[in-house]
Amino acid sequence: MGYLRRLPRFDYLAPRTVDEACSALAERRGDARLFAGGTDLVLQMKRREITPRAIIGLKGVASLSVIRSQAGGIAIGAMTTFGAIESSPLIREKHDFLCETAAGIGSPEIRAVATVGGNLSGALPCADFPAPLMTLGAIVRLRSVRGERALALEDFFMGFAETAAAPDEILTEIELPSRPGFSAGAYVKFHDRHAMDMTTTGVAAFVTWDRARGLIGDVRIALSVSGPVPLRVKNAEAALRGRRLTEEALVEAGLLACREAQPRASWRAREEFRRELIGVLTQRALRQAGEKARVAAERGNA
C-alpha cells in the first residue's frame, strides 16, 4: 500500500562546498541522493518509492544559492529557493516574469524550501520552472569530481524523472543569457483551484519584438505538463516569426502548439481537456509576452 510512512533510516552528509558535495556523491555513488528543498524527495521516501542509504544535504553549500550578474547575463545558483527568486531585484530587473512564475508555485511555506535546482533535477512533468527557463535559452552547469560541463536546458530532460546528468553530477547553476532588446516573457498556467495547486498544464512564451517592422521578431514557446518532458513547440514558434500580433496568429499558434504537445490522460485530467487548455494558454502567454514586448518597443524601453 502506498500510505505515507515515517522516513526510512539514512546517513545524512552535510558538505560545505561543491567539491565536498561532488566527492561525497562520487563516494556513495548509487546509494546517495542529493537533497535540495526536499519537497518531492521527502514524499518519495515516505512512500518508499526510493530508499537511499545516504542523503547529501546541499543546504550548507552557500555558493549554490547565489544569484549574480555575469558577463552575458545572470546566473542563478541551483539551491536558490523560489521565495528568493520571487524577491530578487536582479531577476525582477532582467526577467520579471520569472518572479511571477516563482510566486505562483505552491504556498509560501513550499516556496521557502523548494529550489530551482530541485525543480529541474526532479524532471517531473508537473514542474513549473523548466518551461519559462527554456524560453530564455537557459544553460545548466553540471559539476562532478570529473570536472564541469554546460548543457542547454533543452537537452537536459530525457524522460519522466530522468535527466542528462550522470549519477555523479550535481546541477550547480542555471545561466540565463542577456535579454535581447524589446523582449518579454510570460508563463501562464491552469489549475483547478485559483492558487496553491498542481499545474494541469502551463505555457511559457518569450517574444522579441521587431521594432523596425512592428512585427514579432523571435519567439520561443515551451510547455509544462504537456508531455513526459517540458518541450518547445517549434512549429508554433516558426509560424509566428515575422507575423503581426493578431488574434488569428495567436489562434494558429495555439492550434500548432496543441498538435506538437503530447499530453497524457490521467486521473488528474483528461487528455482532451489538457489539449484545449494548451491552445488557450498558448494564446494567453503569447498575448501577454507579445503585448509587453510591443509596448516596450513602442516606448523605446529596451
Binding site: R5, R193, H194, A195
Partner: protein
C-alpha cells in the same frame, strides 16, 4: 422556566470570541496526539490492499519477532461481535475476521516501541487473501449476480425507505407542468484537519480508559462496550480537544480505538494510534454519492402540487447510520417548500468503496441541490421569477407538513428577501455581462432530532465560592463554539461574566450522559439543559439572597454583573461571590444546579417516515455570483450572500463563523471536492490532491454577506435554533443556478469542474452558435 424578552441581555446576543481561542492559537490545547503517557507504545493498522477478498490465513509470527514489537493482533483477538449505531446497521468489526470489503479495511494491528518499528512490523504480517469480484457502482451492485458484500443484505441492499404522503398520482394529474431530472453527486470527505487519534489503556484492574478526539464520546463508550462485549461500567472515555468533527469518524468507536485498548491489555502499557491524513482520506465516512431522480408537478402559476423523489446512494462497504441517511432526503423534501403530495423511494447500496455516513447536513445538501436546481428549471419553463416561485411555495409558521413536521418559527420568506437585498439581486439578475451570473438556492435543517436510545441532554452547574462556575455537560466542542455558547447561557442566567464559567471536556466517568454532537443539536438541546441547570442554581441562591436582603422571594432577586440585588430596591445588594460563600460557609450548602432537556417529539420510524423529527426547523437562503472563464471552464465565485433563521443568534460572531464555514464547504462540494477512485482505490488521498477551496478561491470579503433572520423560537434557549449546518444546504444549488445564469448551460452532476464546464460550453456553442 421564564422566557425573557430578547434584547436586555448582559452576555447573550453579543459577539464573543471562542473561550478556547487563545489556547488553540498558542498551541497550548492538548489534542490527542499531544498526549504522552509513561511507557506508551505506538500502534499501526494493517489495511486491506484488496477491494473485496476472503482472508484465508494471517501469519503474524515474523512481525512478533521483530525487535521493538510488543504485540500483534488480528480479528481473532476480539469477541467477533459486530457493532454499530442501530440494530439494523451493526456490521462493523474492530478488525476483519474472514473478509475485507474495501481498500483500507482494517486487518491487523501492531504495538511497538515507536512508529518506525510498528510500520516495519506491518510489512512482516503475511495475509493470504483470496480476491473476490468487486463492485464499485451502486446500480451495478443492485443487479442480480453482482458480487455480494454482506450475507445479511440480499442484492447489497443496505437500507431501503419508501413512503408517500398525500396522493402523488393525483397531484401530477392536476399539474399543468411536469419536470423530471436526474442529478448526480460525488463522494466528499469531511476534511477535518486533525486526524483521528487515541490512546487506549487496559489497566491491571480490568478498567479500560480511552483518551480520544471524539465528537460524540458516549457513542464511542457504548460501541466499545458492544464490540468488546464488556459492560460500560468498566469503560471510560475521556475526550481531548477536537480539531474538527463533521462526523468524519470521531462520532464513533473506530478500529483504532478497539485496537488501542486490546493491544494495551496484551502489553500492559498504554497504546497510541494516530491516523495519517492519507489513511483519513482513504477510509470510510464521507458524504454519500447519489443518483437523484426528481419529478415535480406544478400549476402554471408555480404552485408545487407533487414531488416524486428516487435515490440510489452508494453506501460503500458498511452501514454507518444508513437507515437515517436514507430517511432524511425524503423527509427534508417537505422543507422549506410546501409540497402537498410527496412520494419517496431510496436505496442505500453496499459497494466495495469506502463507506458513507454523515457530513454537515448529512444527506440533505444533495437533495437541496437537486430540488433547488429543478425549481429554477421549472421557473424558466413557466416564465416565472426564481424568487417568486420560492416565495410562493415557502412554508409559513404554524403549518404541518405532509410527513408530520410541525413548523414553529420559520422565517423562510425573510431569508429569501434578506439574501436578495444583501446580494443586490434586483440590480444584477439579468443585467450582468455574459459569463457572469447570479443564482439562489435554499434549504432547511433540524435543530437536533429525537433519536433511538438516549436522546436527552443534561447539564450540571457547580457554583464555587469565588463566584466562578464549573459547567459540566456531556457535549463536546468540536470547534463550533459549544464551550462558549453554553457558557454564555450559564453566565447570562447567573449574572456572572463569560470568563467566570469553566467548560469541561467530556469524561464518561464524570460528566452526564449525552447523545453527542450531531444534527445541530448541541446549542438547542444542551443549551436548554444548561439554562435549566443554571436557573436551578440561581433559584437556590435566590432563596438565600432573599433571606439575607430581607426581600420577599417573590420580589424577584436580580442576578447581574456579578451582583445580586432586589429589583424593587437595587441598593439592597450583595456580591455574587459573597452570596455563594454565605451559602457554603455559613449555611453548609452546596450550590449545584442540574437540568435535563429532551424535546418530547415522536421517535420516527425511518422506514415509514411519519412524525415530527425536531423541536424546531431552520430555513436558509443563499445567493452566489460567479464568473465563468469560457476558455478554461474555471468558475470564480465573485460573491456569496446568505440569510439564515437561527432563531436568535446567541453569539453573532460564532453564528457568522458557522454560516460562512458551511458556505465554504458548500462551495467546495459544488466546484472542487471529489474523492477520486479507480477500482476502489482512492487516487487523491492528500490535501494537495483532494481539493478543498482555499482563501484564493473565495470572494473578496466585501462580497461576502451574512444576515441573521431573528424569529425567537419559544422552545430554544433564549430563542436560539440551529446555526451550523442548515446554511450549507442551499449553497450547491445557488452555485448551479448561478453557473446556469452565467452560461446558459445546466449542470446536473457534481462537481462543476472546469473540464465539464468547458466541454459543455463547446457543445452548447456547437448547437447554438449565436446566443
Amino acid at each position: 422556566m421564564t422566557v425573557q424578552a430578547c434584547g436586555d441581555y448582559a452576555i447573550i446576543g453579543k459577539p464573543a470570541p471562542k473561550k478556547d481561542a487563545w489556547i488553540k492559537v498558542t498551541g497550548e490545547a492538548k489534542y490527542a496526539d499531544d498526549l504522552f503517557l509513561a511507557g506508551m507504545l505506538h500502534g499501526k493498522l494493517l489495511r486491506s490492499p484488496h477491494p473485496h477478498a476472503k482472508i484465508s490465513h494471517i501469519d503474524t509470527s515474523r512481525a512478533e519477532k521483530l525487535a521493538g514489537v510488543r504485540a500483534v493482533i488480528t480479528g481473532k483477538d476480539f469477541p467477533g461481535i459486530k457493532y454499530g449505531n442501530m440494530p439494523q446497521t451493526r456490521d462493523y468489526l474492530p478488525l476483519a475476521l474472514d473478509k475485507v470489503r474495501y481498500i483500507g479495511d482494517e486487518v491487523a494491528a501492531v504495538a511497538a516501541i515507536d512508529e518506525e518499528v510498528a510500520e516495519e512490523a506491518l510489512d512482516l504480517i503475511r495475509v493470504e487473501y483470496e480476491p473476490l469480484p468487486a463492485v464499485f457502482d451502486a446500480e451495478e451492485a443492485m443487479k442480480p449476480g453482482a458480487p455480494q458484500l454482506h450475507d445479511h443484505a440480499a442484492n447489497n441492499m443496505s437500507a431501503e425507505t419508501a413512503f408517500q404522503f398525500g396522493d402523488v398520482a393525483k397531484g401530477f394529474a392536476e399539474s399543468d407542468y411536469l419536470q423530471e431530472d436526474l442529478f448526480e453527486t460525488q463522494p466528499v470527505k469531511q476534511g477535518m484537519l486533525e486526524p483521528h487519534a487515541c490512546i487506549g489503556q487496559w489497566d491491571e484492574t480490568g478498567k479500560i480508559t480511552l483518551w480520544a478526539s471524539k465528537q460524540s464520546p458516549y457513542v464511542v463508550w457504548k460501541q466499545l462496550s458492544m464490540g468488546l462485549g464488556i459492560e460500560t461500567s468498566r469503560i471510560r472515555v475521556i475526550q481531548t480537544y477536537v480539531g474538527g468533527g463533521f462526523s468524519g469518524g470521531k462520532q464513533e468507536a473506530m478500529p483504532m480505538d478497539f485496537c488501542a485498548v486490546v493491544l494495551s491489555k496484551k502489553c500492559g502499557r498504554p497504546v497510541k494510534f494516530v491516523h495519517n491524513m492519507d489513511e483519513v482520506l482513504t477510509i470510510g465516512h464521507m458524504r454519500h454519492p447519489m443518483k437523484i431522480w426528481l419529478r415535480t408537478g406544478v400549476k402554471k402559476d408555480g404552485t408545487l402540487l407533487a414531488q416524486h423523489l428516487k435515490i440510489v446512494a452508494d453506501g460503500g462497504a458498511y452501514s454507518s447510520i444508513g437507515q437515517l441517511s436514507m430517511y432524511l432526503p425524503g423527509a427534508m423534501l417537505n422543507l422549506p417548500y410546501r409540497v402537498p403530495n410527496v412520494k419517496y423511494e431510496a436505496y442505500r447500496i453496499f459497494t466495495n468503496n469506502g463507506f458513507c455516513g454523515a457530513l454537515r447536513g448529512h444527506t440533505i445538501p444533495q437533495v437541496c441541490f437537486a430540488r433547488d436546481s429543478q425549481l429554477d428549471l421549472i421557473a424558466e419553463k413557466l416564465g416565472l421569477d426564481p424568487i417568486d416561485i420560492r416565495l410562493k411555495n415557502g412554508l409559513r409558521p404554524g403549518e404541518t407538513t405532509p410527513n408530520g413536521f410541525r413548523i414553529g418559527t420559520f422565517g423562510f420568506a425573510e431569508c429569501v428577501e434578506k439574501a436578495m437585498e444583501a446580494s443586490g439581486w434586483k440590480e444584477k439578475r439579468g443585467k450582468l455581462p455574459r459569463y457572469r451570473g447570479i443564482g439562489m438556492g435554499c434549504g432547511s435543517l433540524v435543530s437536533g432530532a429525537r433519536v433511538m436510545g438516549h436522546s436527552a441532554s443534561t447539564a450540571q452547574v457547580n457554583v464555587h465560592e469565588d463566584g466562578t462556575v464549573a459547567l459540566v455537560t456531556g457535549s463536546t466542542d468540536v470547534g463550533q463554539g459549544a464551550d462558549t455558547v453554553l457558557s454564555m447561557i450559564a453566565a447570562e442566567v447567573l449574572g456572572v461574566g463569560l470568563e467566570d464559567i469553566r467548560f469541561s471536556l467530556v469524561d464518561t466517568d464524570i460528566t452526564p450522559a449525552d447523545p453527542g454532537t450531531f444534527s445541530s443539536r448541541v446549542t438547542f438541546w444542551t443549551g436548554n439543559a444548561v439554562k435549566i441547570a443554571a436557573e436551578d442554581a440561581r433559584r437556590q441562591l435566590a432563596e438565600i439572597a432573599a433571606e439575607k436582603l430581607k426581600a420577599q422571594i417573590d420580589d424577584d432577586i436580580v442576578f447581574r454583573d456579578r451582583q445580586v440585588y432586589v429589583k424593587s430596591d437595587p441598593q439592597r445588594r450583595l456580591r455574587f461571590d459573597e452570596l455563594v460563600r454565605l451559602a457554603q460557609h455559613r449555611q453548609g450548602k452546596v450550590i449545584m444546579g442540574k437540568g435535563a432537556y429532551t424535546s418530547g417529539e415522536a421517535l420516527i420510524d425511518f422506514r415509514t417516515g411519519y412524525g415530527n423529527m425536531s423541536p424546531a426547523y431552520t430555513p436558509s437562503a443563499c445567493v452566489v455570483e460567479v464568473e465563468v472563464d469560457p476558455q478554461t471552464g474555471q468558475v470564480t465565485v465573485a460573491g456569496v450572500w446568505g440569510a439564515h433563521d437561527c432563531g436568535f443568534p446567541l453569539n453573532p460572531m460564532l453564528v457568522k463563523g458557522q454560516v460562512l464555514g458551511a458556505t465554504v464547504m458548500g462551495i467546495g462540494q459544488a466546484l472542487y471536492e471529489n474523492l477520486l477512485r479507480v477500482d476502489g482505490k482512492v487516487m487523491n488521498p492528500s490535501f494537495r490532491d483532494y481539493k478543498m477551496p482555499l482563501t484564493e478561491d473565495m470572494p473578496r470579503l466585501a462580497n461576502v454577506g451574512h444576515v441573521n433572520v431573528i424569529t425567537n423560537d419559544p422552545s430554544g434557549p433564549f430563542g436560539a435554533k440551529e446555526a451550523g449546518e442548515g446554511a450549507a444546504a442551499g449553497v450547491i444549488a445557488a452555485v448551479a443556478n448561478a453557473v446556469y445564469n452565467a452560461t446558459g448551460v445546466r449542470f446536473r452532476s457534481l462537481p462543476f469542474s472546469p473540464d465539464k464546464i468547458l466541454f459543455a460550453l463547446k457543445e452548447s456553442d456547437r448547437k447554438a452558435p449565436a446566443r
